[in-house]
Point group: C2
Chain length 413, copies 2
């Protein structure tokens, strides 16, 4: 008896996209959906009142970080993460395996999940910290992980102590957190890993998948994670190994190659081999063009820190009606001087509380003046924007106009 159920409400005729519904005991998730990230048990800059008023259907928190602070056992004593953070809707947790990459190879080689697309700000991205100063400078390039077949040892950034995670422990932590959809313990490899290493890591991941199934809390829905890097045969092997296990859902993780095209390739190797009856999650991806491409390939849910992080750095999302395009990455940078006297809302097409109340000039003033209120108002806009964007995608699937919507957003200039 699964802790969730999944139903495909409509299969798109022109693409592999599907309109779906994940039912959990804490409520439904309409898919395709971009899950807002609450790394430390808080969607950065927002309160749970904001999440509820935005209509956020679910969030995703970080197993590794919450294990360290404030501790999953403490959270269990508080009745679980939902109660602790005051959010009563479904929640995902990752397994901690991604930190094998983000705290390990990625730090050492200064790269991102998709190869070298954003190498220059990777360090800022690695764990969604507000800024770099929180990371000891001397340790910037230190590999903070040790990986064996038994599990992963992590060196904590806060106190330098080593912590060990394996599948059993990851399942125990996620059980303590009491979230609704949890991830099997895995090793996320780097785009720079060679074939042999990626294969070894994949085999470990498959073993850990078995252990995760054995040890996981049966009140929680467990997703298996497909690894295999950017290698056709490994992805296929991993897809088969994971899908033949009794997981409640399938996640695609790990290195997705060196470009967005590589990422599409990984999905093309993987998704067509998945059965239709389980929900599919793509880990750590969620920009607008990515979402179109991945929904078209049959992905149901995503999680990504991008909308909230770029908000904090001044990038505010813009719809095509308001001038957003692939060229400007669908955003304006509010710190630019051109917005100093701009009395328009961020996006004239947006109905979020920020756009209903404030001008670009005011938001720029707050940003330039380093007012704390900026972070929340900007985050509210970007999250509202992405939630409405996903709603528009679902509506297009409902009405059979997904391809037209994609054309409208991604049209060449």
């Amino acid at each position: 008896m699964s802790a969730i159920s999944f139903e495909i409400l409509r299969q798109d005729k022109e693409t592999h996209a599907r309109l779906g519904l994940i039912k959990t005991r804490r409520g439904d998730i309409e898919t395709p959906y971009l899950v807002p990230v609450a790394t430390m048990g808080s969607v950065r800059a927002l309160g749970s009142d904001d999440l509820h008023s935005l209509g956020v259907q679910c969030t995703l928190a970080n197993t590794y970080h919450l294990h360290l602070n404030p501790g999953d056992e403490l959270i269990a004593r508080f009745g679980g993460l939902h109660r602790f953070m005051g959010f009563d809707r479904p929640m995902f947790t990752d397994s901690g395996g991604f930190q094998a990459f983000s705290l390990g190879f990625a730090r050492e080689h200064n790269i991102s999940k998709i190869g070298n697309i954003f190498p220059q700000d990777y360090r800022k991205k690695y764990d969604d910290r507000e800024d770099e100063k929180e990371m000891p400078k001397a340790a910037n390039k230190e590999n903070l992980t040790k990986i064996t077949d038994e599990g992963i040892s992590f060196k904590s950034l806060s106190d330098g102590a080593w912590h060990f995670l394996n599948a059993e422990k990851s399942m125990k932590i996620q059980s303590n957190l009491g979230t609704d959809i949890i991830m099997a313990f895995d090793e996320c490899t780097s785009p720079l890993s060679d074939y042999d290493y990626t294969k070894k890591a994949m085999q470990r991941t498959h073993n850990w998948a078995e252990e995760s199934i054995r040890y996981h809390d049966k009140n929680q829905a467990l997703y298996g994670i497909i690894q295999g890097g950017w290698f056709d045969d490994l992805r296929k092997e991993s897809t088969q190994a994971i899908t033949e296990k009794p997981f409640d859902g399938i996640a695609i993780g790990g290195s997705l190659g060196n470009s967005k095209q590589d990422m599409h390739q990984v999905l093309d190797w993987t998704v067509p081999r998945l059965d239709d009856d389980r929900p599919r999650h793509l880990l750590g991806i969620g920009e607008i063009d990515d979402i179109f491409e991945c929904v078209a390939r049959g992905i149901d849910t995503f999680d990504c820190v991008s909308p909230t992080r770029i908000a904090r750095r001044g990038s505010l999302l813009l719809s095509p009606q308001a001038g957003g395009s692939q060229e400007n990455k669908f955003h304006i940078n509010i710190k630019n001087l051109q917005f100093k006297e701009d009395c328009r809302p961020i996006d004239t097409n947006c109905s979020c509380s920020t756009c209903r109340t404030y001008s670009r000039a005011y938001l720029r003033h707050l940003y330039v003046s380093r007012e704390l209120s900026y972070f929340r108002l900007a985050t509210l806009h970007n999250l509202h924007f992405m939630l409405r964007f996903m709603e528009e995608i679902r509506e297009s699937l409902r009405t059979g106009t997904f391809a037209q919507m994609k054309d409208k957003w991604l049209k060449e200039i």
Copy 2:
């Protein structure tokens, strides 16, 4: 025809405290009231939606800082500060004269408005900036003002340029901001200023008071500011000079001596000489014990950054019912280890949204993890706390139990 009206609803029998009502075209202010400070046009960490849901009756913004950024003329083109910041209730502005002190003598000598009570963190307090790093280190002790009978020149911290303010210009800026209650231009002296200097500054302030009356926008209510430092005869002279002018209200500013007792002394020299028919504002004061003492001496309104600033630094206010006392300054420090597993709200007696939703343990987790959401949740509590505290004071005046309330809060331990 004054832009405001003021009515005393009830005069306390045992003290000089009074229950009052200031009516403005943008709404009423029930007094005694502690006006939340929105230095840069934002109550730090909050949106105007928060101000409205807290029931904030009015706010106070900073003339000097808004003149520099984003500029009062820009704000005027946006229809005034209310529209710019999305807050439609009454607003105060100070005149910029306080910055003669805060950017001048106070920086040079590292002191606060009330002498040396908090010298150690004065630099952090001087202008309510989030932290010191925003102030160029080399300039920490530089006097950034030049004062003559004509006005005050300020050196901007952001670009090093000099800016000149006088009464006419201060009135013009405040007119551009379009606030409801404005302050006459004054020079705020230091507790370290000697008699001769304080007298000279006071005489300047009186001349500028005349000029402020001449130049001010008659749609705005103008308060005169009594100066005179910690000198009996100067305070009396200033009280007479200011009260005999046709101001809409009276503010008490400037150096208030070297201790809280000195501050009471200043009020005792001043307030008994005021007529009853105008509202009285005490500038920059607003801790709990201060408010009791000053309300008892006949002050109607206060403004103070303390409740919001201490929230950001981890100090969360506590009522006597929940263990707050003069000894612990009516707050807990949430970063303390003792709150790591504390499942209680900050204050079991508080009905704010933070106390209704979150535990001390969760707030500590956010604080320790440097989550941005902490600042808003903490600020919401402290502001709600102070608003309810002022409401309780008004209620005690309504029912003739002010002295009992004061005893309950300030009882010896």
